[in-house]
């Protein structure tokens, strides 16, 4: 069953002669439990696609359906609730609140949803333990390494049991070891915990962790491939000229 369905998705910045189409009539569907990697060169529209699907930005044209509901019909508050309860976000620069500790950061979406602090913290700590931070629960972001901060961000994204995890270059700011750990965690989120994952990356090695790869260029999806092994990924990338 599709979690997200986008049809003819278009995003144009500027107007008249300065108009630039960041997305040009893109169709994309993400199924429950599926791990999709979006790849392409800088400026091809990867992040714009992710922002639109995550309800962070509004399209110029086309439609997005989340759980069968049209995003265009939603008010700002409905979109906010959707992001809070159905989506989880992981950003390149972690974006943790510097003055909150790991538990408080991970519990943030629950706290925003009015869940009692004790319960929110209990669930946050459960997720922190699952992502391997059982011994860092009271540390503040400046007391954690980059990889550990990104794990907190993943725990925060998963704490509400979202249907879809949106990750924008989640390993872009990490060393290769930490990057592999995060990619493995996203695979686990999809395979073991049943979440749909849509990840934007331009790192072929990380993209190879996904079930499906979507390739973009100049605002359009130019190819996509289902992959079962790193070898499939390598071949798909060679085909579109990314390797």
């Amino acid at each position: 069953m599709p979690i997200v369905e986008a049809h003819g998705l278009t995003k144009v910045y500027g107007a008249g002669t300065t108009a630039v189409a960041a997305l040009d009539h893109v169709d994309l569907t993400v199924e429950a439990g599926e791990f999709v990697a979006v790849m392409g060169p800088s400026g091809c529209g990867k992040s714009t696609l992710l922002n639109l699907l995550g309800g962070l930005d509004t399209p110029t044209g086309g439609t997005i359906e989340i759980d069968g509901d049209l995003v265009a019909d939603m008010t700002d508050d409905q979109l906010t609730l959707l992001r809070r309860r159905r989506f989880g976000f992981v950003f390149q620069f972690f974006n943790l609140i510097p003055v909150l500790n790991a538990t408080e950061n991970a519990a943030l979406p629950l706290t925003l949803d009015g869940i009692a602090t004790a319960e929110a913290h209990r669930r946050a700590q459960e997720w922190l333990a699952r992502v391997g931070l059982g011994d860092r629960m009271t540390n503040r972001p400046d007391q954690l390494s980059g990889g550990q901060q990104q794990r907190v961000a993943v725990a925060r994204a998963l704490v509400t049991d979202p249907a879809l995890l949106l990750a924008d270059e989640p390993t872009g700011n990490l060393d290769s070891k930490a990057a592999d750990d995060i990619a493995a965690l996203l695979t686990q989120a999809s395979g073991e915990w049943g979440r749909a994952v849509l990840m934007v990356t331009h790192d072929p090695r990380i993209a190879a962790y996904a079930h499906r790869m979507v390739f973009m260029r100049d605002g359009k999806i130019v190819d996509e491939a289902r992959i079962g092994s790193p070898e499939d990924a390598r071949r798909a990338m060679e085909k579109v000229g990314l390797l």
Partner: protein, 838 residues
Amino acid sequence: MRMAFTLAGRYLWGRKLRTLLTTLAVVFGVSVIFGLGSLLPTMVDTFTKILFASAGQVDLAITSSSGSTFDGSVTDEIESVTGVRAASPVLRRPVGMPRGAAVGTLQVIGIEPRSALRVRHYPLAEGTMLANGDRGVTAVGASVARDLDLAVGDFIEIPSARGLRRMRVIGILDTVAAAGTAEAYVTLSDAQMMFGEPGRVSEIEAGFVNGADRAAVEERVRRKLGDKYTVGGIESGSELLASLKVSEFIFNMFGVFALAMGGFIILNTFRTVVAERRHDIGMLRAVGARRRTILNIFLAESLLQGVLGTAVGLLLGAALAYGLIAAINPLYENIVNMTIDKPQFELATLLIAVFLGIGVTVLGALAPAIAASRITPLEALRPQIGDVEERARGRRAGVGAAVLALSAVAMLSQNATAVGTGSVGVIVGLVLVAPQLVAPISNAFAWLIDLIFRSEGEIARSNMQRQPSRAATTASAVMISLSIIIALLGVMVSLTDGFLDYVDRSVAGADFIFLPTNLLLAAGNVGASNELVADVRDVAGVDTVATLRVAKARVNDAAVQVIGIDPVDYPKVATFEFSGSGQTSDIGTLAKDRRLIANGIFAAQNGISVGQDVRVTTINGDKTYQVAAIGSDYLNAKLGTVYISQERLKEDFGTENNAMVLMNTMPAADLTTVQRQLGRLVVAYPQLTLYDTLTFREEQAATLATTMIGMYGLVVVLAIPTLLALLNNLAMSVIARTREIGMLRAVGSTRSQIRRMVMAEALLLAGVGVTFGVVSGVALGYAMVEAMNNIGFKMPYSFPLSGIVAGVVIGFAFSLVAAIIPSRTAAKLDIVAALHYE
């Protein structure tokens, strides 16, 4: 809301220096409002208590509605009223003691001992109380005995209208009964003789029979005496009370200004905070925070700061009130012989301070908080969008330019209300156009900065121009602070010039003056009898002698002091400062019928105009006087005063007491000889001091200069927000540019260069603030002088050159002081840590 408060608390704790600097702004404003707000009512209350202490412990006090003395036979009328046990006549006069005496003003109270003891308790500490028939004896208060080192059996010399009277001390009273006043009780007949008021009294005290219906007895007394008398209250000193009330208002305004500056600092801080936390806001919105949640986080932060700042401000305000009382008590004791007790912390003052402290803080944060809540998640996660801010700045500048143009027209209108509104408009207009002017003004200062700082000056300038709104907000806070300083100094210069000019004009024709030592309570002071005046006239070389005689009255129901002058002689020795079409010849018309000249402040406050008939309450009932002119002499410019002829004063108020004597000499007279002879005459009247006009002018200038010291102190206090605003801005600027500073250090900037860069930025900020401050300060000062003129304080407008110099010096000096900590912080930054700073 819980999460909002948790986050707010953590953010505040996480940025301790910024929290401290921002909170200090609130602390300052609240402490001023609460401290001065608690002090002024105490002063008013203490003064009132002391006034009424004299009427205390008696059931009823009766005074003349006009405030002047009246016939003592009224005592019998009061005693005949059912329910009145006894009535006792009193003649009370404040007497200026000789210069240098430990007691400045002595209240001499003449009583009729037998009846007095029936209406009031006189607790004796030592000796005996007065008895009917006593002459030349006195019972003094314990404070007088202590201050003048008197014991029972000693003698005290009390100045009187007939020279010094030597009185033997027969008793010392426990002064608890009338705390704060220096009192000497004499028999009524002695007092009437000393003050040249035979048969007259200033008040009557009455005691009720046990169990009497107090309200009913009071009403019966009132009915019996009619409206010529006031039953229950004492009018004396009401002018001083009114003046204290005005001070209360001024200090409250001062506190509000201080808080307004605090509001600017808070606004500035939160704008920076919002800009700094864009990524946090974006993330919170992305993970499901509503707009309202974002708004709540910032409002919670401001609320916490407001509560914290207000709490500390209240404590400091209380300390300020105690400190000020300790500082002014010696002065008060010397001048009006009263000591202020403890500050009065009233609930209303507390609520106002809390409301303003928290309210201004939350209000200051409101606009940035709303702006933060409007940021979309994507905007927040992206780099800043300068063009949106640019457009908003342009619109605001357009409105500001229009406001400035309208204000300029209003300022030139010469209408006091329009000028006042215009001056506020100038400040508002400048605040609005400030962001657009940051670049041109900082460019204008570029040559100076480049001269001192070379390459660092260039970087500092571009840093400031990159954040014009933040720089403009700081400059606005500096502007408000400096404009008040410049305006205040401008008013002080105008006031000094105006008053010295007044002195020159008022005593222009006189060569010598006999002046009471205590000018403050001139309305009731003991002056000189006509015998002294006659003696002065007999001195060889003295030409014209004119005197001022004083009484109190109500004109159209407003309390006023009445000064009696000789319409023929007075213009020869002194001049008036007239308003409108008034001229010296108007003084001569006072001799005709019942005519008066009202001074500016009284005319303005009571809407009195030339030609109008006014109702004057005299000891002989209401009389109609016609207003001949509006004008004043120097000494009485501050108090509501009307001038009538001495002939009318005697007829309507029964007063011949000369409070002040002015004289000029013949052209050929030897001034030294005349002065020596006059000096001999005045020895017997220590309540009067002989001045030649030059010394008088110098002394007045010195007194004015002493008074101004307090005002200069106020100016220094007013400068504090300037320092806070600059310090706050520079500290935030360094925090916001931590990564950039790390980069500069990484590519080879020395610590000294970083320090100089922050210093240069501080000077540039001060340059913008000072420019705005000078423009608005001149406008505000002009408006203040116009306002003073409008309420009757006639003074010429003097361009505040010294104020501008002070403003420029304060602005630039404070900018360097404010830059010390941020520049050192910036220079000490660890390069690696700075490069990874988020």
